[in-house]
Structures are given as C-alpha cells and as structure tokens.
C-alpha cells in the first residue's frame, strides 16, 4: 500500500512538473479548500447523494444512447422509431430494461434529492453571506436540471412526452416579442415533431450534461461520505427499480406507454411529478391584470416560482444560522410553505375543477408570500441565545 502511495505521489509530481494539475484543482474547484460547517447532520447528505445519482444517470445514459433512436418517423408497423427503440431496449437489449429503469428512476430520485438539498439550505440558511454565489450556482444547476429532465422526457415519444412538450413549449410562446420566435427555434418546426425530437436529444445528451457538470464543479464546496447513508439510499432506489418501476404512474406515466399521436389530444395532460407544482401555478393564475393576458401571467408565475429561490440570500433576515436557532415564526412559515408546495404538486397531477382551482390559487398565494414576506417575518423572530455559534 505504501509503495502504491509513493508511486502515485511520484506520478502526481511528474504531472505537476509538466502541467499545473494540483494548482488547477485547488484554484478551479472549491472541493480542495472550503470551510465546511461543523454541524453536519442527516440533511447534509442529499447533495453528495445527488452527485452519485447524477453519475449513474451519465453512465446509464451512455448505454441508452447506444440503442435509442431519436426518430419520429413511423416504422412498417406504424410505430414511431423513437417509441419502438425504447421498447427494443426494454425487450431485446440484454439488461436494457434494467438500464432504462435505472435511468427513469434516477431522474425522479435526482429531483427528490435536489429538492431535499434545497430544503436543507433553507433550514440552515446555508445561502447567507458568504455563500450567495454557491447558492446562485446551485439555482442555475436546478434550472439546468429542470431543462434537462424536460427535454429528456420527450425521448420516449409517448403521448404524454409529446403533449407535455406541446403545452410547455406553447406556454413560452406567450412571452412578448421574442416568445414566438424562440418557440419556433425550440421546436425547429411549427409543431412538435421530428426536428424537435432531434434537437431535444442533442440538448439531453451533450449540451445540458456538459453545462451541468461544469456548473457542478463550481458549486460543490465539499462532499460528505457515509457508507450507511449511501447503502440505505441505494436500497430504497433498488427496491423501486425492481418492484415499482412506474411508482404508481409518478415515475413512468401509464399514458406514455401509448405512442405519440399529434391528432389525438389526451383528456388529461400533466408533466412528471417534479414539475407539477409549477404547472399548478401556471393553471391557477386565471385573472388578467394590468391589461396583460392571464395566460402570460400564468407563464410568468410558473417561471418566477422556479427562479424566486435565487433571491433567498437577500430575503432571509433571520439571525439564527441553524434551524433550531430560528424562531417559531420562520419554522411555521416554512412548514406552511412545504404543505402548499406538496399540495400544488399533487394538484398538478390531477384534472382541475373549481374547488381544486381555488385550492391551487390559495397555495400559489402562500408560495409567493413565503418568499416575498420573508424579509418581514424572518426579522420578527427572536433567535435563541446561541446564534452564530456554528460559525465560531
């Protein structure tokens, strides 16, 4: 072991003489020397787990790309090639079904972890000075991940892939001035079609992953390692992959086992669970205001709901650093926010009716109030006496 270490050290020294490897590592990433909080708890593991899942997504993605065909033309049985190639992976590619389920479950797992990771940051006010940039980079990663899963969801070319893309892309066309041109470029056509599938494939396998990896290198301050947490998480994921790959229609929607049909609109269109809260907000905003169409307000509301997290470092005035040091008002506000977020997520998965619409509108109001009123209520709290202890 000692000789291996010496040899490795020799190798690094050899490389260091020729290229600035170690110095680049130290200067370009903050993995090398960044102050980590000393009060690491259970909540601190989600970021590291998310990296593990991301790597799994990259690896399974490589193998899926070997067999997947981003082609919307019909084969001789009248099935789009893209849809058929996914079923080909499920049946004819050795272990293809496992790789596909790992990838589809991984996408949902990644979003769960990212949401929990963000929740941790709010709990511990992880974004306040001097970590604003880390938080903003993280937010950029979150938006990038949303874009990545959105384009990825078109790949199976099922009914919901097609119609969810149709709804969201059309929503962008509501943005004044550049909206229509942007959506035309995004689709590469006047309708979602083969051109859209091809460019979304290109985004999904190279553009967004490359961007995400680069952002990630800038974002990660440190990693936490605990084999027990890792194995526990892996066990849960594996149980889902082998026994509940569809997760009751939340990870793989049943209607997506029907091939995309541009001539037949499904009765109920919903994105996958991780976007349904924003989708609910899109549907909940039904009033035209200041002479602007309700549709545009809906789109703005949806986008704002995703981006508003970025303002947290300047909205949060609470003086307690960790959750237990925070006062009761902040805790209650956060609890109400989480409930309304979950309610919105649920409402986005079901067809809407007047009562549900009202509930979605109330939750939308709570959603934005949580952020916009934060400078007021987070100041009202009296922090416990040991504020700032964790930084000493």
């Amino acid at each position: 072991m000692a000789t291996v270490n010496t040899r490795l050290g020799g190798l690094i020294a050899w490389i260091d003489e020729r290229t600035p490897l170690t110095t680049t590592w130290k200067s370009a990433t903050r993995l090398a020397g960044y102050y980590a909080p000393k009060n690491v708890t259970f909540w601190y593991f989600f970021g590291t787990l998310a990296i593990v899942v991301l790597i799994s997504q990259l690896v399974t993605g490589i193998f899926l790309t070997m067999h997947y065909k981003p082609d919307a033309s019909l084969n001789e049985s009248g099935v789009p090639l893209a849809f058929a190639s996914v079923e080909y992976i499920m049946r004819d590619v050795p272990w293809g079904w496992l790789i596909r389920y790992l990838h589809s479950t991984g996408a949902s797992a990644l979003l769960i972890l990212v949401y929990l990771h963000m929740f941790r940051s709010v709990l511990y006010s992880s974004y306040i000075k001097p970590r604003e940039l880390t938080w903003l980079l993280g937010m950029t990663i979150f938006i990038g991940l949303a874009a990545q899963t959105f384009v990825g969801y078109l790949m199976p070319w099922g009914q919901l892939s097609f119609w969810a893309a149709q709804v969201i892309v059309n929503a962008f066309s509501q943005i004044p001035f550049f909206g229509p041109d942007f959506t035309l470029w995004l689709r590469g056509d006047y309708v979602i079609g083969d051109a859209t599938l091809n460019r979304f494939f290109s985004f999904h396998v190279i553009a967004f992953p490359a961007l995400l990896l680069w952002l990630l290198f800038q974002h990660i301050p440190h990693t936490v390692k605990d084999i027990r947490i890792f194995l526990g998480f892996l066990t849960v994921c594996v149980a889902i992959v082998f026994y509940l790959p569809e997760m009751g229609g939340y990870f793989l929607e049943y209607n997506n086992f029907t091939q995309a049909n541009p001539l037949q609109t499904p009765q109920h269109i919903a994105p996958l669970w991780y976007f349904t809260s924003y989708y609910s907000i899109l549907r909940a905003i039904t009033y035209p205001l200041f002479g602007i169409d309700a549709k545009l307000w809906g789109v703005l509301g949806m986008l704002a709901a995703m981006v508003i997290f970025a303002l947290l470092p300047w909205l949060d005035k609470s003086r307690g650093m960790s959750f237990r040091q925070k006062g009761p008002i902040f805790k209650v506000a956060l609890a109400i926010f989480v409930v309304s977020f979950v309610t919105l997520s649920y409402l986005g998965t079901v067809p809407t009716d007047p009562l549900r619409l009202l509930l979605a509108q109330i939750c939308t109001a709570i959603y934005f109030a949580f952020f916009l009123l934060m400078p007021i209520y987070s100041r009202m709290d009296n922090p416990r006496g040991d504020a700032g202890r964790s930084t000493r």
């Binding site: 079923e87 027990r228 194995l231 409402l347 549900r356 509930l359």
Partner: protein, 258 residues
C-alpha cells in the same frame, strides 16, 4: 434538540394528506365515454401459471393477431413461458416462418382503415398503457373482453360497455355467446346472456383471464426476471447495510482536502 426538530417535521407531514384529501374530495366518480359508470372487474393473477400463459398465447395468436400486431414481441421470446421452438413454429406462427420475427399482421393498413375506420392498435404494451384511475390495465382488458353486447345500431352489430362505440366486433362471441342490454331504456347498463355460447360464463371468464395474463406478460416480458432478481439484489444490499451499521466505519466524516 434534533429530536424536537424531527418531531416538527413529522407533524408537518401530517398536514400533507389533509391537503390532499381536501383536493381529492372534489373528484367525481369516473364516468365512461357515454355516461356509463364503469366498475372494472378484477382480473385473476395468473402470472405464475404457465399453462394459463400458454393458453393465452395460443388465443392471442389465433384470434387477435389477425388484426392486432404485437410488433415489439418476438416469437422466440415465447420460450420464456415454456414453449419449445418446435411448438412455437407449429402452433403459434401463422404470419411468418422466421422464429426471430416480431408478431406482425399481414393485413394492409389501407384495408384496415377501409374496413374498420382505423388501424387496430398494436398490443405489445397495451396492458401498461391501459392503466388509469379506473384501475390496472389488466382489469380494464378483462372487463372489456367480457362486456360486448348486441347493438343493431352499430355497423359491426356489437357494442361494448367499457369502450362505447368501439370499432372492434366481439371476436370471442362463439365462446361467450351473445349478451344484450338487460333494459336498453334504463341507465343501469346491465348485461344479460341472451344466447349462450360454447362455454359457460365461468369458463369464458377463465379463458379471458388466460388471454389477459398473456397480454400482461407480453407488455413487460422481463418483469418475471426483474422481480426474481430483485430479491437477491435487495438481500445483498441489506447484508452490506447491516455490516456498515454494525461496523460503524467512523461517524460522519468530511472529505476535506488540506
């Protein structure tokens, strides 16, 4: 202190179902296309019954495969459910002579369009696609295939309670016989067996259950292996996890470089 925090989190989770119930209370009973209230019958689970699966495969290739393709399913995959290659060639392959071929139909699409008004859908993944708020896809097909009734207003002479005005006619009618609406004027939508078929109702239900079991198998042929393998993978992970917990490889450690 951490416990208090956990309690708070758990308390918070209690609110979640409340909110969901509030939203769900508005859900109406799911109505069929023509206002019929559908209650799906539960399809018996025959996924481990090889004889039933084989019977289902025979029924599918004989009665369904004339119009409905299963273009993702290859004939030689039927070895999964206990057929020999010779059996597949002699008893199941009518449209091709290559055992590695997928199950396609000989009918031309233009003809199908002219005869039925649409191309009959491919059935490779129908069971998965038919899963909905009503219930699992196998229940839908099981109920559908038992809900045909005589309707003189339809071009085929048949209608269906689960799928109103469906283009398909009752292919298995000689087994089931002919059902009619008990009272066409009322909204009860109950069926009565007017002319008995070759099989008793119980026998017919069993036949449909076999066919549905096969369709379910075909919608994910790797499901059997998946569930079998899952046990071993989970056991291995639990053992590793147990070791990790017992041996406690240090408490939380930060990977910080100097």
């Amino acid at each position: 202190m951490n416990k208090l925090f956990l309690k708070l989190m758990l308390l918070q989770l209690l609110f979640v179902p409340l909110a969901a119930i509030a939203a769900g209370a508005a859900a109406p009973g799911v109505a069929g296309a023509a206002g019929t209230l559908i209650n799906l019958d539960h399809a018996p689970d025959k996924s481990h019954d090889q004889a039933a699966l084989q019977n289902g495969a025979r029924l599918f290739t004989k009665y369904c495969l004339t119009c409905h393709s299963a273009s993702f399913m290859r004939y030689n995959r039927l070895r999964d459910i206990g057929f020999t290659e010779q059996q597949i060639k002699e008893e199941l392959m009518f449209a091709t002579d290559k055992i590695g071929d997928p199950m396609k139909v000989a009918m031309r699409k233009a003809d199908a369009q002219r005869w039925f008004g649409l191309v009959p859908p491919d059935h490779s993944v129908t069971v998965r696609a038919r899963t909905s708020a009503l219930g699992p896809g196998e229940d839908w097909i099981y109920t559908y295939l038992r809900s045909f009734y005589r309707d003189p207003t339809r071009p085929s002479g048949w209608n269906n309670l689960v799928f109103q005005n469906v283009a398909m006619h009752h292919v298995l009618w000689e087994f089931q016989g002919e059902q009619v609406l008990e009272d066409p004027l009322s909204k009860t939508y109950k069926l009565r067996l007017a002319i008995p078929g070759k099989l008793t109702p119980a026998e017919y239900d069993n036949l449909v259950a076999d066919l549905v079991a096969y369709l379910k198998y075909m919608s994910e042929p790797s499901a059997g292996l998946r569930k079998e393998l899952g046990v071993y993978v989970l056991i291995a992970l639990f053992v590793l996890l147990a070791f990790a917990i017992v041996l406690k490889p240090g408490s939380v450690k930060l990977a910080r470089r100097p």
